[in-house]
């Protein structure tokens, strides 16, 4: 599982029926200190976050589909809103 920041949303009227009612968000992957890295991706919101700039963790690949009851065709899903991260000094 990885960290990221919600930066927007995607609206799609025509989609797989298993995605009806699902919220698709634009997510900027970050490291665990919140620093941005890589290209934004589209993720399914499995926990009801939605607020822009929210710091979250997400799961990729087939495991993402399991986060939702209908097991829709998704390869990334937000699983939780991060309240805080404690990093040990290296």
């Amino acid at each position: 599982m990885f960290a990221g920041k919600v930066i927007g949303r995607v609206i799609a009227t025509r989609k797989d029926p298993a995605l009806d009612g699902a919220r698709l968000l634009l997510l900027q992957p970050t490291d665990w200190s919140g620093k941005e890295s890589g290209d934004p991706i589209v993720v399914l919101d499995a926990v009801g976050t939605g607020a822009e700039d929210e710091f979250v963790f997400y799961v990729g690949a087939r495991e993402a589909a399991v986060a939702v009851e209908k097991i829709p065709p998704i390869d990334a899903a937000i699983l939780g809103i991060i309240d805080g991260v404690t990093l040990e000094e290296a």
Partner: protein, 99 residues
Amino acid sequence: MKFARVIGTVVATKKDDKVEGRKLLLVQPVDISFKPSESPAVAIDAVGAGEDELVLLVSGSSARQTEATTNRPCDLVIMAIVDTVEMRGSVIYQKGVND
């Protein structure tokens, strides 16, 4: 999921029975500026996408989770046609306007 543009179709008469009757589209993955980001690939279309449309791609084993691809040998599927993308408070894509 990643954004992609539909750039063509692929026709194959002789193919695996499990992809029989599936629509094969050539897609160009794009980044958040909607510029090409990697090499084009072939995807099974689960939603009736058309040429030039901006779509969402699901890759890997999740690609088998649509009705069109259940238990089929498929690692890339089009599962949504994009209408609007909002980023940091602004609309950065609107179907029909930014195409």
